[in-house]
């Protein structure tokens, strides 16, 4: 939208009111993310502006503290495993869903997406009772399974979207040239859908890395993940150590955003090349 040279004064006013309104919304979106970063470098133990002096003591504190490092380690164990599980299950299912029509397909698709929709607390309570019976409560296995369930819909959706442009004649071509179905998948299909698989994986990873509710219910202090540590930190007393960890997490989200953008470009390139 741009201002036409022949715009009337009222249109000009509208244009600027609209622009300023949008600017305020963008400010609203960005300020909370930006405001916490400088506070992590404050030497005061209160999270308030103006900042008196700068120091790295809060970073030192989280990197030398047992609970913070343990919870980070736990999240770094659980999130990648859950992501891999979600990527394998999700990719297979998305390929299957696109391959052919079969009875009950719509219902199955709804089932595969539903973990994204069902309120987390219901998933958490359900898994709490169910995992207790299976002996999976307070275990890494239980947590990985739970987070894989929550991550799977993202992989199904993104891979499904990438497959919309996929030309299935390539599979036939591969097969007619004598390649086994597995070889066709790895050399023909996978390279083309990898942006979808990877971006779904990123979503799954971010979900696990930010998931509090289910972990609160099914994990014991031994498997305490980073989000739980953050949650109890915020609830008890919100110290600049939280701001320091928040800054690191914002850095992570910048990385995720950049990788996502690269994947999007690559996916666009792939579809224009055809």
């Amino acid at each position: 939208m741009s201002l036409q040279p022949y715009a009337s004064p009222i249109e000009r006013i509208w244009f600027w009111v609209f622009r300023i309104f949008c600017g305020l919304i963008l400010l609203f979106l960005m300020v909370p993310v930006l405001v916490i970063i400088p506070l992590s470098f404050s030497d005061s133990s209160f999270l308030t502006y103006p900042i008196q002096g700068f120091s790295l003591r809060w970073y030192e504190q989280i990197f030398s503290s047992g609970p913070w490092m343990d919870s980070l380690k736990n999240s770094l164990i659980v999130a990648p495993l859950a992501t891999i599980l979600a990527m394998i299950f999700g990719t297979l299912a998305a390929v299957g869903l696109n391959r052919a029509d079969f009875p009950g397909k719509g219902l199955i698709l709804a089932l595969l997406i539903s973990p994204m929709v069902v309120p987390l607390v219901i998933v958490a309570v359900g898994m709490y009772f169910f995992f207790a019976n299976l002996g999976l409560l307070n275990s890494y296995t239980g947590l990985v399974i739970a987070h894989a369930v929550l991550g799977v819909p993202f992989v199904v959706i993104t891979v499904n979207a990438t497959l919309q442009n996929f030309d299935y004649n390539q599979i036939r071509a591969g097969a007619s040239l004598g390649a086994s179905p597995l070889r066709v998948f790895f050399t023909v299909v996978l390279p083309q859908i990898i942006p979808g698989v990877a971006s779904g994986g990123l979503f799954a990873f971010a979900t696990s890395f930010d998931e509090v509710v289910v972990a609160l219910f099914i994990a014991s202090p031994t498997e305490r993940t980073l989000p739980i540590q953050m949650f109890s930190g915020i609830r008890e007393n919100i110290s600049p150590a939280i701001a320091a960890m928040a800054t690191l997490l914002i850095l992570l989200s910048v990385v995720l955003l950049l990788v996502m953008e690269l994947l999007r470009r690559r996916s666009e390139k792939l579809s224009t090349h055809r």
Binding site: L26, R99, L112, V149
Partner: protein, 418 residues
């Protein structure tokens, strides 16, 4: 393919019919292969997702506590007509099974269940258990009434009778502030005990309010993003996507920092002279709205943006050139073309807002907690699993109904920008 050619010679006398059969078989094989690919995930979700949730939902009507600890009593008392007191057989079975319930934690289970009927039941049970005679050659009706006269009251036994069937509607009714009166008809609970209808209303009000604010803020921004040249809009899109990718906890913490009494918002308002003293902006409804709108706004903007990208601006310009007021052209020509995006965004945000737990727990006060909070509370704090399951079931029903509407309205690939 190769098999069709090979078989072609074999069925040469009926080539067309043979080919058709081959084709059907190939199609069927394709379908089976496709289903086999979907099967692992479907199975995984059925075991790790559907079964946990359905077994939780079962708890909302599950009434087997007393029946499993006192099977004979439960069977006997179901035949009682509810007049006076039950006959000796019920008393005898009850006394016998009460004595046996001490082993294996059965007493605790029935005590907890009967306490939901009457909060003094657990102590009645322990007192009765202590007073039971060692012999069995007694009239149990007299013995029990001798220990506590309450065993001579119809209401005591009616309470026991209500715990005897395998299923009950008490939790689901209680989740709607209803109960079964003595005679069995459904009635509202006493005024001072009503809570959940208000909690559901509050949940709907917060979710609805957040959705409306998100639409009000998201629509203009999505419109700006969709109409700017790509190079500029990509830059602004980062401002939407960075918060989107940032941890929910980070953003919630940031809002506490911003809104607290010494925070930037209060300082800013005092500096401009709008207020003289800091006002309470967090740990109340205002804080909940700020944080929830911030978290959910990208989920409104992204579907709107993807729809608006595909709406050509030519119609709107045509309307203006035909003499329509720019505002009318916008409202009557442009907005209707974005309805699918509006529907997708609003339902998505509303569904997500309904189940919120963490954000209200951190930035809200006691009177801002939504249904999810009570589900968690009953599971963790009071172990009243029937109540947790009943509240969860109602929340789930509302969510799934909305999800079905959403599924009908939008293609699921619009959910994620890939």
């Amino acid at each position: 393919m190769t098999s069709i050619t090979a078989n072609h010679t074999a069925t040469d006398n009926q080539p067309i019919a043979g080919l058709k059969a081959q084709l059907r078989r190939a199609e069927r094989m394709k379908k089976i292969k496709a289903m086999l690919l979907v099967a692992p995930l479907a199975l995984f979700l059925v075991i790790a997702f559907v079964m946990p949730i359905s077994s939780m939902l079962w708890r909302s009507i599950d009434n087997t506590e007393v029946g499993s600890v006192m099977p004979q009593t439960a069977a006997a008392i179901l035949d009682w007509d509810g007049q006076g007191i039950p006959d000796e057989a019920v008393f005898a079975a009850f006394a016998q099974e009460l004595r046996e319930s001490r082993a294996g934690g059965g007493l605790g289970r029935i005590g907890r269940r009967l306490n939901y009927e009457d909060p003094t039941f657990r102590s009645l049970l322990t007192q009765t258990l202590r007073g039971l005679p060692a012999t069995t050659e007694v009239t149990w009706t007299e013995e029990l009434i001798g220990i506590n006269a309450r065993w001579n009251e119809t209401s005591t036994w009616l309470a026991v009778q209500r715990t005897a069937p395998t299923v009950t509607d008490r939790y689901l009714l209680a989740a709607l502030d209803l109960e079964r009166a003595e005679a069995g008809q459904i009635a509202k609970v006493a005024e001072n005990q009503r809570l959940y209808v208000q909690v559901f209303k509050r949940t709907l009000v917060i979710a609805g309010g957040v959705t409306l604010i998100c639409l009000f803020l998201g629509f203009p921004l999505a419109y700006l993003l969709a109409t700017l040249p790509t190079s500029k809009s990509n830059l602004l899109l980062i401002c939407v996507l960075l918060p989107f990718w940032t941890s929910l906890l980070v953003r919630t913490a940031a809002w506490i920092v911003l809104l607290q009494s010494g925070g930037l918002v209060n300082s800013g308002l005092m500096w401009t002279g709008i207020i003289d003293a800091p006002i309470q902006l967090v740990f109340n409804r205002i804080g909940v709205f700020f944080a929830m709108v911030h978290v959910l706004l990208p989920f409104m903007i992204l579907p709107l943006y993807s729809v608006m990208k595909s709406v050509p601006s030519t119609y709107q310009r045509a309307a203006i050139s035909l003499g329509a007021h720019p505002f009318a052209a916008f409202w009557q020509v442009y907005v209707p073309q974005t309805l699918s995006g509006i529907a997708a965004g609003t339902i998505l945000v509303f569904i997500m807002a309904l189940g919120y737990y963490i954000t209200p727990a951190l930035v809200g006060g006691p009177s801002d907690q939504m249904v999810s909070y009570y589900v968690a509370y009953y599971t963790n704090t009071t172990n009243n699993w029937g109540m947790a399951a009943a509240l969860g079931a109602l929340l789930l029903i509302v969510t799934l109904l909305l999800y079905m509407v959403y599924h009908k309205l939008v293609n699921q690939k619009q959910l994620v920008r890939s």
